[in-house]
């Protein structure tokens, strides 16, 4: 017998897939804004090189970037709050949030396993420890993006918030770092989804996963 098991609840699938274009648009419009004062670099690595701006046609689009950013911020925030509220109310958070400090040790094992340095995997429920830590961290990062964004948006009205981030330019740096973090998350996430295979990907669309082949 085979079992079709509900893995991802309908609401969570919607929140996830709505977030995909919203996060993309927030980062894209953020880059349109960043172009006007592109000061960050990592050693010789400048964010971003000139070819990057011309390749994607990013130059001279500050007004457009701001209008898009301050339009989609509402949807991004509403979707994020709805997701968190729903995971808490439905009890789904129990699968998503690491329950003990041993999650960090388990996540390390998962990482070693995924890098083909270890054969076995620690026992897990719906998500492994590395996923739990990542999916929890990404929510904290989202909240950080909203708060640092508010501090840049209204440094006079919310001067106390800007102060928490080390001032206006501090908030801007945090906001940029978090955006870079989302991009890194995205890359790892896509690789992991590709490696996990079709059955796993499909479950994020239709909700069900096939389990327990041929008992």
């Amino acid at each position: 017998m085979q079992k079709l098991k509900l893995k991802h609840l309908l609401a969570i699938r919607w929140f996830h897939w709505i977030n995909v274009p919203l996060l993309f648009l927030m980062i894209w419009s953020g880059i349109l804004i960043y172009w006007a004062y592109p000061i960050y670099s990592l050693g010789p690595l400048h964010f971003f090189p000139k070819w990057f701006y011309s390749l994607f046609g990013i130059e001279q689009r500050l007004a457009e970037g701001m209008a898009l950013h301050f339009f989609f911020m509402w949807l991004f925030v509403v979707n994020g709050i709805a997701y968190v509220t729903y995971t808490l109310a439905s009890g789904e958070w129990r699968y998503l949030v690491p329950r003990s400090w041993s999650a960090f040790r388990d996540a390390w094992h998962v990482a070693l396993h995924d890098l083909r340095l270890r054969k076995d995997l620690p026992p897990q429920d719906k998500y492994n420890a590395a996923q739990q830590i990542t999916y929890t961290a990404i929510i904290v990062m989202g909240a950080g993006s909203v708060l640092s964004g508010l501090a840049i948006y209204k440094p006079a009205q919310l001067s106390w918030l800007a102060m928490l981030f080390g001032g206006y330019q501090g908030a801007r740096a945090v906001h940029f770092l978090l955006a870079a973090g989302f991009v890194m998350f995205f890359v790892v996430h896509i690789v992991q989804v590709a490696l996990a295979g079709w059955n796993n990907f499909r479950s994020m669309v239709i909700g069900y996963d096939v389990v327990g082949d041929h008992d």
Partner: protein, 258 residues
């Protein structure tokens, strides 16, 4: 069988059938949602433009401005700094201040009413200097993203307004300011111009304002981006109609508040 069942146990054959059915339906829904999302994006970005922004985005910019305006209070202050934190400022924008100009012949026109209202007053620097002089060292934020600490001195716009709009007289909702040639102009809400940090400034870092920084008189309004801090003010007009604004017409937020 409901869609909400957490587990569906089936024979292999049935399972394949059920899985295929759910996959078809799931991806069809996903496709429809993607098309709907793309359509919404096209509408949001390609709708008719109002002042160089598609109107749905313009509406949201204005809504954001109304929320920020409703929340704004005189106790919301841009942080102030010791003078040791002052750093050099970039000269950004010479619209309305690039032509030949004799600061000695400068006069400030003050009007009340619609666009064609004749100025009620013509003031000189002595009139501004007669108001209490306020000095503050605060953050100047450009809409491009940079910010610098600068020290400014001048008269509070609220003191200026109190003098020419004695209590009891109807105070309009907005202020329009323009350079003498009206090449550059800004629209401001009354709450922001009456904010205690809003100055009609004539000194920068302890020196008379330089020409490229807006001599002889400019607006310093730290609760707004630099684009609203108009240089070389030639006209101040109080009005109940939301005034035009140079950069708002180029697709930027009209409120532009910080």
């Amino acid at each position: 069988m409901t869609n909400r069942r957490r587990e569906i146990v089936l024979s292999d054959n049935e399972a394949q059938h059920e899985l295929a059915r759910r996959t078809r339906r799931g991806f069809l829904m996903a496709g429809l949602a993607a098309v709907g999302g793309f359509g919404a994006y096209e509408w949001i970005t390609k709708a008719q433009q109002v002042d160089n922004a598609p109107w749905p985005q313009r509406k949201v910019l204005d809504l954001n401005g109304r929320i920020s305006h409703a929340y704004l209070s005189d106790s919301h202050l841009m942080p102030e700094y010791p003078k040791s934190k002052i750093s050099p400022i970039k000269v950004n924008g010479d619209i309305g201040v690039s032509n030949d100009f004799d600061p000695g012949a400068w006069r400030l026109q003050v009007a009340n009413g619609a666009e064609d209202a004749t100025p009620l007053l013509t003031l000189s620097m002595a009139d501004i200097a007669a108001l209490p002089k306020i000095e503050m060292t605060t953050l100047f934020c450009c809409i491009e993203g940079w910010s610098v600490v600068q020290s400014w001195a001048g008269a509070r716009f609220s003191d200026f307004t109190k003098k020419y709009f004695p209590p009891g007289q109807h105070l309009p909702q907005y202020v329009y300011m323009a350079t003498p040639d009206e090449d550059y102009y800004v629209g401001l809400d009354m709450k922001s111009v009456l904010h205690p940090q809003t100055l009609l400034a004539y000194e920068r870092n302890g020196q008379p304002l330089e020409r490229e920084h807006g001599a002889p008189l400019r607006l310093i309004i730290p609760v707004k981006y630099g684009i609203k801090n108009i240089k070389r003010i030639g006209l101040i007009r109080y009005t109940d109609d939301r005034p035009d604004d140079y950069w708002a017409e180029e697709g930027y937020d009209w409120f532009a508040g910080l």
